[in-house]
Symmetry: C2
């Protein structure tokens, strides 16, 4: 096992009617900015619950944070934070709203001139403005980690940021909010969380038993939960398992002490930046092609994944490993998620070389757990996903 340090101070308030308890977590004299997205929270009752909880607070609202939170819109919110002396942020939404709020938490206390530098120069946030979250869309794990991804339309960039100052103070996870999530977004959530686990698990074996068993446990839970979730998202226990699985998939625990990959995410982000394809779907496009391309490096873990997650007990190591990739594709397909780029755009012929060039420009010369995925590998991985 590799050396690691692990700390996750976020307080989770899990279950029905937990929104009311945010009053115990937000200081009574706080000046609160409530942030949300396109307005779905006004249709599903979440807005009413949060407003009721905030009724004794001095608070204002900022809606309209889009999927792939956009820098220029966030800068409008930052202006309000400064003008109105806001000192507590409350994100009500999914990963995009929470990630946007994390950027604001960092930017509000940032001393530099240009807040985009936090992303561009990779400045770690040791201390951010305190914030909490009310999760409406399980997928990204952002509600219990200290990372965020922000998009800049002008520069066509999608960059990550983070630091120990960016853990939410608290996150409300109420599974009853899952019932009104559209099917497409449930499929995205399952795929996103599933791939988060694979990024931290499908590398090479180092006999880290707890990390492997927990990773497999999350994968099995997502697989078992998916069919009923897609049919009946208002089933509370199913929604609860989905929600807690997504959070555990990316709260830092399973990646500690083991190698991690993340190349699927790096390449996937470029597909979103280029074509606006949903984040989760870019992972389903790139992942299987990447596992195929890096088969020799990953085959031991692929075979372990086949055995322990898909219950494939027969065949050679290579056969099991191949079957595991097939099963992964089948799983994504069963959610209505296509794994080929050509299903999303007709304009894909030059994508591979474009992304490869883009990554070289960014100085990302070697990706993956072994730092062996070069720009020319990226060409093959993306072409393999056409």
């Amino acid at each position: 096992m590799n050396n690691f340090s692990f700390q996750n101070p976020t307080k989770i308030l899990f279950g029905k009617d937990q929104v009311a308890n945010i009053t115990k977590e937000i200081p009574a004299n706080a000046k609160v900015l409530m942030l949300f997205g396109g307005g779905s929270i006004k249709k599903n009752g979440v807005y009413e619950q949060v407003s009721a909880a905030l009724k004794n607070y001095d608070y204002i609202e900022f809606g309209g944070i889009p999927p792939n939170p956009e820098y220029s819109i966030l800068m409008d919110a930052l202006k309000i934070i400064k003008e109105k002396n806001i000192d507590f942020l409350l994100a009500v939404g999914g990963g995009s709203v929470i990630d946007g709020t994390k950027f604001l938490s960092a930017a509000a206390l940032y001393k530099g001139e240009n807040a985009w530098d936090i992303l561009k120069k990779g400045i770690r946030t040791e201390k951010g403005m305190p914030f909490g979250t009310v999760l409406t869309l399980p997928a990204t794990g952002s509600e219990m980690n200290s990372g965020a991804v922000v998009t800049n339309k002008e520069t066509q960039e999608k960059l990550g940021m983070g630091g120990p100052g960016l853990f939410p103070q608290f996150s409300v996870l109420d599974p009853s909010f899952v019932s009104t999530i559209p099917e497409k977004q449930l499929a995205n959530g399952l795929t996103d969380a599933f791939t988060h686990v694979l990024e931290q698990y499908l590398t090479y074996p180092i006999d880290a038993k707890i990390q492997d068993r927990f990773a497999e446990g999350i994968l099995v839970s997502l697989i078992e939960t998916a069919p009923n979730l897609m049919k009946n998202p208002s089933d509370y226990d199913t929604a609860a398992n989905f929600m807690w699985s997504c959070t555990m998939a990316l709260n830092g625990l399973i990646q500690k002490g083991v190698p991690t990959d993340w190349a699927t995410h790096m390449i996937g982000h470029e597909l979103t930046a280029l074509y606006g394809i949903d984040h989760a779907r870019t992972l389903a496009i790139i992942g299987p092609s990447l596992y195929q391309h890096t088969f020799e490096q990953k085959k031991e873990k692929l075979a372990q994944y086949a055995e322990r997650v898909w219950d494939i007990k027969t065949g050679s190591l290579e056969e099991k490993a191949e079957k595991a990739i097939e099963k992964t594709v089948e799983f994504f397909n069963s959610l209505g998620i296509d794994t080929k780029l050509s299903k999303y755009t007709d304009d894909y012929k030059d994508t591979a070389s474009f992304i490869s060039k883009r990554m070289t420009e960014r100085g990302w010369t070697a990706l993956g757990e072994n730092k062996k995925i070069t720009p020319s590998d990226v060409v093959k991985i993306v072409e393999g996903a056409y």
Copy 2:
């Protein structure tokens, strides 16, 4: 899934040579009391490492905290804390030293007259004196939770305490410290951690997938790790898996949202108070008899445990459940741990009725996940363990 709140702010520093990093965690101007046990840390190099790390601090030492940390000895340490204006505690040892340090953390800031009231009256500690730990003996999970158990010889009591103020600020988990642990204590550690998981898992099914998969993952890891650990505790990866398994077994995560039992611990504590039997061994004595006695309540989870942990796929639900109990006894026996009280003392004939009376006196009229274990059940459970 039941509603829950979860927060665990302890920072884990895991791996070789992490002791040196405690200087980044203890404030430079802190006045530190370093606490330890019977002196084994002076033989295995841990004392030297900790002393070297503390060399620029103003610190004093307090050794001699015994297994089942004794109230009267801890009161001597409390006197030093007050006299010397200590403001940071550093526990270097196993569960007993850490639990004793937690008591001191609470007692140091306690406003009442009699510190024993913290245990006797069950006073929750919202804020304690800050402390860190350097773990030398994996078993109890105390290094990453906010609970402690303290013994009072005078009153023959062994009582629990806790509260959000009692999480360690940090805990160093260096698997290389495992190499010098005596075989008997390794067996105790495995048994203790194993039973911790069973207390949170062997109840009744409520379809909490993550909690169940994680619990099973820890059990499987302990089973897989045990043989090599007992033979070769200086194997680093084996020690690392053992250490991380024990921490995850009782850091609060797997018990959130599910029913828990803890009757085995409650009854076991009485055996330690009466006969001085090692804590872990009391669990191995009481557990199997308790599973037998509460078979009807627990059989679904026992059968699941049989299938998912022991790979027992054939037979009726009841047959699988029975086999799971047998396998558990075999596992304890394989570690050299006896599961019958008569192997530990000849003086056991009246133990059952004595413990049952003792529990009635304490007002513990109904134990277990269903609050259905009455004092007369306790008689049968303890008799079943003769």
